[in-house]
Point group: C2
Chain length 323, copies 2
């Protein structure tokens, strides 16, 4: 954990190990390779932002702790499963400075390990004891996978900006909103509170992904752990690129060339440099900050206390971590 | 449907299209490719034995029809998802005489399509409205995937026979038992009935897989749709082979050579011929018949009527379809 996250993280420091223990709990007899894989994935860190969102929301609203831990574990497990299949599909050999599963397993074993982790996530979700939550959980998995398929088929229709927001909703914000909304559902909170917490999670998720996409251009290459502009190099138009291209006479042509993977390396390097130097970065960050502001207004009617303050800090951290 | 199945199938003929409609029902906005994939998979047939087991059990016990249709759809969807990933992992290009998904899609798109179908299966299961059932559903998925991983890692320990029965439980019988037990759970039947219907489904599933493994040797090559002895050629020891090797002085050496994929084609052809001509076939079929008999005794305490008779016919069909 970086120092900036310390304050909001303090409140859940005792609970995160309980979430991890729930993720490790083994309800079935299974191949030892699966435990090794799960240990490797849990051990490779990650900021546990999704579980933290669930736990803080649950404490703020008074949700049963055991249910909240189950939800946090199910959500982080689902997130982990999607990463396993993503890394396989992208051929990524490293994540967070450690080898991915597919770096050491055959494709078949990686597919099945991901499937098993999906099954464990569904089992954790079923164990929470709420059909409403289970229904949202399955629907979120559909949303995430559908988003990945759309990205894989590289189809961008007319409105690129809409495509981008649809994509980052599916990829990131859908699970963030489940993390906060789910904690409210488990409290059997009224519909206004459930909806406000859904919107809060949604906006934090949108901001988180925009900042990730900004860091892909503006970050420290060593810390990001991959070449700058890697999305662009993979034919993906993210917000900084869309804002850079907006209003340029050659914008549409460039966008098409990127999508088709037709730009030679040298031109890609030039384009990445131009985007880094452009106001696309600052304008994208401003959109992330707007999302956070919109999210924070959703907290206004929530119970006052350290948890609400911590959720605000977490939201700010999501945009400040870059800077 | 073949004529032999007509009688037991008659009782559910009206309901199977309702199951298929439930599988096609689209609760989310998603990529059209996914509908094409689901249509292709549903259109490629299959005997719908698992839904038939659920529907007959539900009618026999008086389970709510809508819940039974939901369960039948969820189970067939889960079965479909596992086939999508299996065919990818095995590199199979045909199934039931039609191209597999991976014959036409990239590996990445096939992985994601399978994931989406898993998500739809979980969504269908959640929609039935029983947490107990949802818990069993997630656990069955864990069992199936774990069994595939064990098979992939090709580990057979000391007791080959035990390994074989563990494997066919995971691969087939676990979902058959969910099909029958689930219908009893949704009826909120007492524990004895739930357990008896679980055992009935288990035994039918075990028999079904043994017969499949027998047909791989003894079937009509054109009808099976792959070369005879294909399991053996892929380094897999199924019951006919285990029974053939039993008590032969060179049994252990041969088993090891098959597992290691060390037998040349000509020797494999010879071994397949020897197994076909041996009593391994008949003894394996006798074990399938024993399983069916054990399953049928579980029906003795069930409500008398056309559904119970149809379940008996279905069980008989499972072993008779080969002959």
């Amino acid at each position: 954990m970086e120092p900036t996250t310390a304050t909001f993280f303090d409140l859940v420091r005792r609970q995160i190990p309980l979430v991890e223990a729930r993720m490790r709990s083994t309800p079935d007899r299974h191949h030892p390779q699966l435990d090794l894989a799960i240990e490797h994935l849990l051990g490779s860190g990650g900021k546990r932002l999704r579980p933290t969102l669930t736990l803080l929301t649950a404490r703020m609203l008074g949700t049963d702790e055991d249910k909240a831990i189950g939800l946090a574990a199910a959500i982080e497990m689902l997130h982990t499963a999607t990463l396993v299949h993503d890394d396989l599909i992208d051929g990524s050999l490293m994540r967070r400075g450690l080898p991915t599963l597919n770096a050491n397993l055959t494709p078949g074993a990686t597919v099945l390990t991901g499937d098993y982790i999906f099954a464990r996530a569904a089992h954790l979700a079923a164990g929470i004891g709420s059909l409403t939550l289970m229904e949202h959980f399955a629907r979120t998995l559909m949303t995430i996978v559908n988003g990945e398929l759309i990205q894989l088929f590289r189809e961008q229709s007319g409105d690129d900006r809409q495509d981008y927001f649809d994509r980052i909703y599916a990829k990131t914000a859908s699970l963030f909103e489940l993390a906060t909304m789910g904690a409210a559902i488990l409290r059997q909170a009224n519909q206004e509170i459930v909806e406000a917490m859904r919107r809060f999670g949604y906006q934090v998720g949108i901001a988180f992904q925009i900042v990730d996409d900004v860091l892909d251009f503006a970050g420290d290459e060593a810390r990001v752990g991959k070449p700058l502009g890697s999305d662009l190099r993979h034919g993906l138009l993210t917000l900084p690129t869309l804002l850079y291209l907006e209003g340029r006479p050659d914008g549409a042509t460039l966008a098409e060339a990127v999508l088709a993977g037709r730009l030679p390396e040298a031109e890609l390097d030039g384009l990445v440099g131009a985007i880094r130097a452009s106001d696309g970065i600052g304008r994208a960050l401003a959109e992330a900050r707007n999302a956070i502001a919109a999210g924070e207004t959703q907290l206004e009617g929530m119970p006052d206390g350290p948890e609400r303050a911590a959720l605000r800090q977490l939201a700010q951290y999501v945009v400040d971590r870059s800077l």
